[in-house]
């Protein structure tokens, strides 16, 4: 991947972006056990696959979602959080 499409600024070189990891739902800290909380804090899905990820276009501080095949490093689509097409 050399170019990534920001939903606001359009296609930009990938060095303008920062990767912030897979989109994960936080469980209710008051409702889960210590062990379930540790699972949320530490454990990750490290196998290749199509994942939803947080990325940020740093010059404009635009945070958005990238759907990407991490094994092949191919972007399927990008959109603002909550605005999935």
């Amino acid at each position: 991947m050399k170019i990534l499409t920001c939903p606001v600024n359009g296609p930009r070189v990938v060095t303008e972006f920062a990767y912030w990891g897979e989109l994960r739902e936080m469980p209710d800290p008051a409702a889960v056990s210590d062990e379930q909380w540790a699972d949320y804090v530490f454990n990750r899905n490290g196998a290749p696959g199509i994942k939803k990820e947080w990325w940020c276009h740093t010059p404009s501080n635009t945070w958005f979602i990238v759907e990407r095949d991490t094994g092949r490093d191919e972007v399927l689509r990008t959109y603002l959080y909550g605005e999935a097409p």
């Binding site: 990891g21 540790a38 196998a47 990820e53």
Partner: protein, 413 residues
């Protein structure tokens, strides 16, 4: 001229020396199956056979022997870590390294160079002092030196680093060394094969059979194998294997790239590491500069390489060595690293009985090859975690008991 060579020359037959026996059929069962024929997997097989008499072992490899991170690292060996667990573990590894060539009857080109970790900021100097004190406490040769000492050991260096990041001092670790990484896999592989271990390349594991929380067998592209013990030593492919048995781990996977320059006359004796400039560099026996930098900035599970990496690393190399502006980059490549949140490995038993992990080796696995093999062999043979690796167990994350090793990573990944 050695007598053996003369006899070989005068002989009518010139048999090609074989490192390994010809491949055989897979058996239907083994006492132990090791996934991954890299340095770690082969070392575990070697010590299982040599020290525990367990020779009914199969080492399965999807690709070819030593073709993963064993053949992709920058070959640096050191023990100047930060946590007591790390220092004791890597110190035991360095001691094993120093006798490996003789043990294998194979020249590993093990070359003790001395290792400088450069500090460009006050806070880096503070970490160096901290590391030196921990190291000395455990008997590891490690000291803080001033910038003049760096200049004496490496007169070509620009101490101001182009004015961006002047070098204030360094952590000096005299036992720091490099070795020929392919030969390590060959030596362990040959030693294991001589003792009866079977190495099966081009054999991919497609599933692991678990019945009642116990490992019962392994499915491969060449058939199913019965076994009660599986050791997983597959670095960046670890999540793919742990997913087969539903085991959750904190491992995340990023590529780590490296490159070499064209060969030059020997000029760089020590190994230099700079966290601020994201560089580690040494000169190999062939005269090439072997250079590495920090992790790629985002998750990818393939060994593709990028121009960004070469540009960034070259720019920082020129900060340190401006005279290198005419030196060409000859090759670049990538390995996929299994990173952990605390920069310490994940080793030992797991909640699945008979499934042992040797993983979380991220960017620091090569130097640990001998001690990993030794401790994992003991763990598999006795079904008890070796005392040297208890700080690295997978369940430390469930207990929020990290083994914080990030301060000793060679560059700020």
């Amino acid at each position: 001229m050695p007598w053996r060579l003369l006899r070989f020359a005068l002989s009518r037959k010139h048999p090609e020396p074989r490192m390994f026996p010809a491949p055989r059929e897979l058996k239907s069962g083994y006492d132990v199956v090791i996934i991954g024929a890299g340095g770690h997997g082969l070392a575990a097989a070697y010590y299982l056979a040599r020290e525990h008499g367990i020779t009914d072992v199969a080492v399965l490899e999807k690709g070819y022997l030593g073709g993963g991170n064993t053949g992709r690292n920058t070959t640096i060996i050191r023990s100047n870590y930060l946590t007591p667990e790390g220092v004791l573990f890597y110190d035991a590894s360095v001691r094993l390294w120093q006798q490996l060539s003789e043990e294998f009857r194979l020249n590993l080109f093990y070359s003790t160079r001395g290792h400088f970790t450069l500090a460009h900021t006050d806070s880096a100097m503070r970490t160096m002092r901290w590391r030196a004190e921990v190291n000395k406490h455990y008997g590891v040769d490690s000291e803080v030196d001033d910038a003049a000492a760096v200049k004496r050991a490496c007169p070509q260096i620009d101490l101001s680093c182009g004015g961006h990041a002047p070098i204030l001092g360094a952590l000096y670790h005299a036992p720091g060394a490099i070795a020929r990484h392919d030969a390590v896999a060959w030596g362990y592989g040959r030693g294991a094969a001589e003792r009866g271990v079977q190495i099966h390349q081009q054999t991919e594991v497609t599933g692991i059979e678990v019945v009642g929380g116990r490992v019962r067998g392994v499915r491969t592209t060449r058939g199913t194998i019965r076994t009660d013990k599986v050791l997983c030593a597959v670095a960046g492919s670890t999540p793919r294997v742990t997913d087969m048995i539903g085991l959750r781990t904190p491992i995340y996977v990023h590529p780590l790239q490296a490159m070499v320059s064209e060969p030059m006359k020997p000029w760089l004796d020590p190994i230099l590491v700079s966290g601020s400039l994201h560089i580690y560099v040494s000169q190999s026996a062939r005269g090439e500069l072997v250079m590495g930098a920090s992790l790629d900035p985002y998750e990818v599970q393939s060994t593709r390489s990028t121009l960004d990496f070469v540009e960034g690393l070259s720019a920082h190399m020129l900060d340190m060595f401006p005279f290198m502006s005419h030196v060409k980059v000859m090759r670049q490549w990538a390995g996929i690293t299994d990173m952990t949140p605390d920069f310490a490995p994940i080793m030992g038993k797991t909640e699945v009985e008979g499934f042992y992990l040797d993983s979380g080796w991220g960017t620091w696995g090569f130097k640990a090859t001998p001690i990993c093999g030794k401790t994992m062999a003991r763990t598999v043979a006795t079904d008890l975690n070796d005392p040297l690796i208890t700080g690295f167990s997978l369940d430390r994350f469930r207990r929020y008991a990290m083994t914080g090793e990030k301060g000793a990573a060679s560059v700020g990944h």
